[in-house]
């Protein structure tokens, strides 16, 4: 019975935010805007190049009590951060 309930998972949306080439505080602000638009359970995916934002977006995620699903960085400095609302 509980398994059946677990299968009834509501559809999860993925919201993409492209902040490549943007500087302080735009990636942080756009992340927050996207998280406000997202429904609980939705995934917010941010792509950017501003180095400090790669460190600071996870700080915001922690402060907001949300889960950080992963951080990836390419050799050219472009990073991707995934957050679960």
């Amino acid at each position: 019975m509980s398994c059946e309930k677990e299968r009834e998972v509501p559809s999860v949306a993925e919201i993409k935010v492209d902040c490549r080439g943007e500087t302080c505080p735009v990636p942080l602000v756009e992340t927050r805007k996207a998280l406000r638009r997202a429904q609980p359970g939705d995934i917010v995916k941010i792509v950017g190049t501003h180095p400090s934002s790669k460190k600071e977006i996870p700080m915001a995620v922690e402060a907001l009590g949300l889960s950080l699903l992963g951080i990836e960085e390419r050799e050219d400095g472009e990073w991707t951060i995934k957050i679960k609302r």
Binding site: G21, E22, T23, C24, P25, V26, L28, V29, T31, R32, K33, R36, E56, M59, A60, A63, L64, G65, L66
Partner: protein, 170 residues
Amino acid sequence: MKCSQAAPDVETGAAVADRDVAQVEGEAHRRKPEKITLIVHSGDFDKLYSAFIIGNGALSMGMEASMYFTFWGLSRLRRGRLASGPLSKMHLLGLGKLMVKRRMRKQRVRPLEEMARDFRELGGKIFACDMTMDIMGIKAEQLHQELIDEYCAVGTYIREARESTVTLFI
């Protein structure tokens, strides 16, 4: 099972306590957030940037934020004047500001007008000092009223500041 009479009460109590702890942990971010209050006294272009960057950063990181505009800062809330202030240093009759603005565009720094809209969109509050309005002869209709929450005095700043963990004078 010997304590069948007492057990249900104890278990219920423990279950409630566990649920409360889980709720507190799961909803930690829903507790009343910390707050930052900025006094924007300066009307300088660069200092207005500092104020909005700090305000927007705080909102983005889950804090509440209030900005209290007074004196030269309030003057920047007049329509079309947000970015019209001089640089606090190296203004050089406008030449320095021109160079800084060019560099900012190149680095894709967001314009002040957009930062102000972001601040409002993220739930930031803007207060306008009514004494400054009287001194400078500024009427509400001359101001960006869509940005302003309240026209008020020092008492409102103190109310905001005493609830804040951070307050800055810019």
